[in-house]
């Protein structure tokens, strides 16, 4: 998940669609995020590259909408509803996720196991 500054970022992503749950007068998604451009990337336990200032999923509430949709702890969120999340501050990320007018968020998330799965599947096939 490391990136080269100036080059386009490539990653294997998974599309996760979460329905917001109505709790009182809030709409919640059921997970917590950490990271951001204004945060200290060194303290991120989930990132491979400790200079990565992206948004990571730090906690997933059990039996919440995020867990049902397949989000896992340690995922890096690359896009939310088409908006980029790799170069945003923490507060901007929070705002994009908690827009009151939307009740569905479509995330593009990446994790290490996805890369490895793709690699394994590619090795299985001979070159054609």
């Amino acid at each position: 998940m490391s990136f080269i500054p100036g080059q386009p970022v490539t990653a294997v992503v998974q599309r996760v669609e979460i329905q917001k749950l109505c709790q009182g007068d809030h709409l919640i998604l059921g997970f917590s995020i950490g990271g951001g451009m204004d945060q200290d990337p060194v303290q991120n336990p989930y990132s491979e590259d400790k200079t990565d200032k992206g948004i990571y999923v730090t906690r997933v509430t059990p039996k919440g909408p995020a867990e049902k949709a397949g989000l896992m702890m340690g995922d890096k969120i690359m896009q939310v509803n088409g908006w980029d999340m790799t170069m945003v501050t923490h507060d901007q990320a929070r705002k994009r996720l908690t827009k009151k007018k939307e009740d569905v968020v479509r995330l593009l998330v990446t994790r290490k196991s996805l890369e490895e799965a793709v690699k394994h599947s590619m090795c299985g096939y001979p070159k054609q």
Binding site: I28, I33, G34, D38, Q39, R59, H90
Partner: protein
């Protein structure tokens, strides 16, 4: 080692140590003992009177109280470890504190010896020659300006022009400058010299020569320009005299700078190591000649190094002696004619065999050393614990007299010496045993212990403060003049001793029992750079790691 004595008297053995030292003086007291014998003890009973027994709160067999006065000329009842030590009947004379506090002071022996042998006469001449020369030069220096002023008045007073206020001003300034010069010379040069160095100090010689040259040239000019033509201008003569005193004051300034100020800035780091037990200290010195550096280092030695104790060194010698003692190599095959040629090969062969055999023995030697040291440490700690308890208990029996005690019986009110004598016996035995275990019993005489105890009582010291003097060996100076050996130092150096100390110089200061090896390193030239920090440049950002749940 202590249990065999039937009396628990205090051992008073500094006498034997002293007699060892004087055995090697040039006045040849006839003692053929070596320094290892200084640990033998001679027992003398303390001068305790029966009236103080009631104040002792312990068994009578513990207290070293005996009837009768101590006999200073004889030892007490025979001590088994004393052996065949001969008595030094002159110890009454040799106990006076006459040895070298200042090398220039005359001791009793030297006054007697001055007229005796030619060697002594030469030595005395050498010692007093610089002083005599200095005094002569000083007199010359003081008398010259006055002579300059007085000679015209004496010789041709009628033709002299009277000069008014200007001359009087010159006379005033001359007299005050002369006074200042006298005080300055007294302050700088007329101090008792603290040592006798092997060679003349180069700077002093230079300054004396300079002063002499200056004065002689002034006399020359005076004689040629003023005495011969009998100059009548008194104002000019007075100015001439004042200029001489000015020049002398500047020479004195030069003396202050050369003799006192130049060596203050440290530029050498010196390592001093004692040869017998490896005690090492490091000092910083300035630019000095080797002999003056040696003098400074000796003064530091007397202040910093713990007392040299030959009793502690015999252990390692015994160990090595034991290793090689049982091994002797005999060459059975050497014929009568071949001994001369076979000698070198023999000795190297025998040495090789001896070292091989000794190597086999080493396995037991280090084991022995380990257990012996552990045992010794345990014994010292045990004795120390007993000593601390005994001293604390002794100190509880005495306290300062308070106002309400004035009504107590007069027999209980004592002077400090009596109080010290009263509580001393209860701690004397454990103190003696402790000192024997740490092999320092010859450093402390009973008298000195009692004096120290009185001092501690007067100054309200705690028992721990009293004990500190005995738990660790202190610097040499606190042990009395018989330990100082101040006139027995030899400076051994490959470079000239009046030359300056350089980086890499090494020299040796040898005493009779040990030597101090001195190595000199120069302090590096430090290059410091500067970095300016704008106070406004201290800015900080917060690095957070917040977690938001969405």
């Amino acid at each position: 080692m202590d249990s065999e004595s039937t009396h628990s008297g205090y051992s008073y053995s500094s006498r034997s140590g002293r007699s060892n030292r004087h055995g090697r003086e040039r006045h040849k007291v006839n003692n053929s003992k070596d320094s290892s014998r200084s640990e033998r003890s001679v027992v003398i009973n303390p001068p305790d009177t029966p009236s103080h027994n009631s104040h002792n709160s312990h068994n009578s067999q513990d207290s070293p109280v005996h009837n009768g006065e101590p006999l200073p000329g004889e030892p007490g009842p025979p001590d088994p470890d004393q052996g065949d030590e001969t008595q030094d009947d002159n110890w009454g004379e040799t106990t006076t504190a006459v040895t070298g506090t200042s090398e220039l002071s005359l001791s009793q022996e030297e006054v007697v010896g001055l007229g005796k042998s030619p060697e002594d006469r030469v030595r005395a001449c050498r010692r007093y020659f610089p002083l005599a020369l200095g005094l002569a030069l000083g007199l010359l220096v003081v008398a010259t300006p006055l002579a300059f002023l007085l000679l015209p008045v004496a010789l041709w007073a009628d033709r002299l022009q009277a000069c008014g206020a200007a001359c009087e001003g010159l006379f005033l300034s001359l007299s005050f400058k002369l006074l200042i010069l006298l005080v300055a010379v007294w302050a700088l040069f007329l101090r008792p010299s603290r040592a006798g160095l092997p060679r003349l100090c180069a700077y002093r010689g230079f300054l004396a020569t300079l002063t002499l040259l200056l004065t002689m040239s002034y006399w020359l000019f005076y004689g040629v320009r003023i005495l011969d033509p009998q100059d009548e201008d008194y104002h000019g003569i007075a100015q001439f005299a004042v200029s001489l005193v000015d020049s002398l004051l500047f020479v004195h300034y030069l003396a202050v700078v050369l003799l006192e100020l130049r060596q203050l800035q440290p530029c050498f780091s010196v390592c001093v190591m004692r040869s017998t037990d490896g005690e090492t200290r490091h000092y910083n010195l300035g630019r000095l000649s080797i002999q003056r550096a040696a003098l400074s280092l000796l003064e530091f030695y007397y202040r910093d190094f713990p007392l040299h104790n030959p009793a502690l060194l015999s252990a390692s010698k015994q160990r090595t002696a034991k290793q090689l003692a049982g091994l002797k190599v005999y060459n059975v095959d050497a014929g009568p004619g071949s001994t001369a040629g076979a000698q070198p090969a023999n000795s190297s062969q025998s040495r090789a065999m001896v070292t091989a055999a000794a190597a086999k023995r080493k396995d037991s030697a280090h084991n022995e050393l380990y257990y012996e040291e552990a045992d010794h440490d345990r014994r010292v700690r045990k004795r120390r614990a007993r000593l601390v308890v005994a001293v604390e208990e002794a100190f509880t029996h005495v306290r300062r007299m308070k106002a309400e005690d004035e009504r107590a019986t007069p027999a209980d009110i004592m002077e400090v010496r009596e109080a010290a004598l009263a509580i001393f016996p209860s701690m004397a035995r454990s103190l003696q045993k402790y000192l024997r275990t740490t092999r320092r019993q010859h450093c402390h005489s009973m008298d000195s212990i009692q004096k120290h105890l009185a001092f501690c009582l007067v100054n309200n010291m705690s028992p721990k403060a009293f004990l500190e003097a005995y738990l660790a060996p202190g610097p040499t100076l606190q042990y009395g003049p018989e330990r100082w050996m101040a006139d027995q130092w030899t400076l051994v150096s490959e470079a000239s001793v009046t030359g300056g100390v350089q980086d890499g110089s090494e020299f040796l200061l040898r005493c009779l029992d040990f030597s101090l090896a001195v190595t000199v390193r120069s302090i590096p030239y430090l290059r410091m750079t500067e970095e300016f920090v704008d106070p406004k440049s201290h800015k900080f950002t917060l690095l957070l790691q917040s977690e938001t749940s969405v």
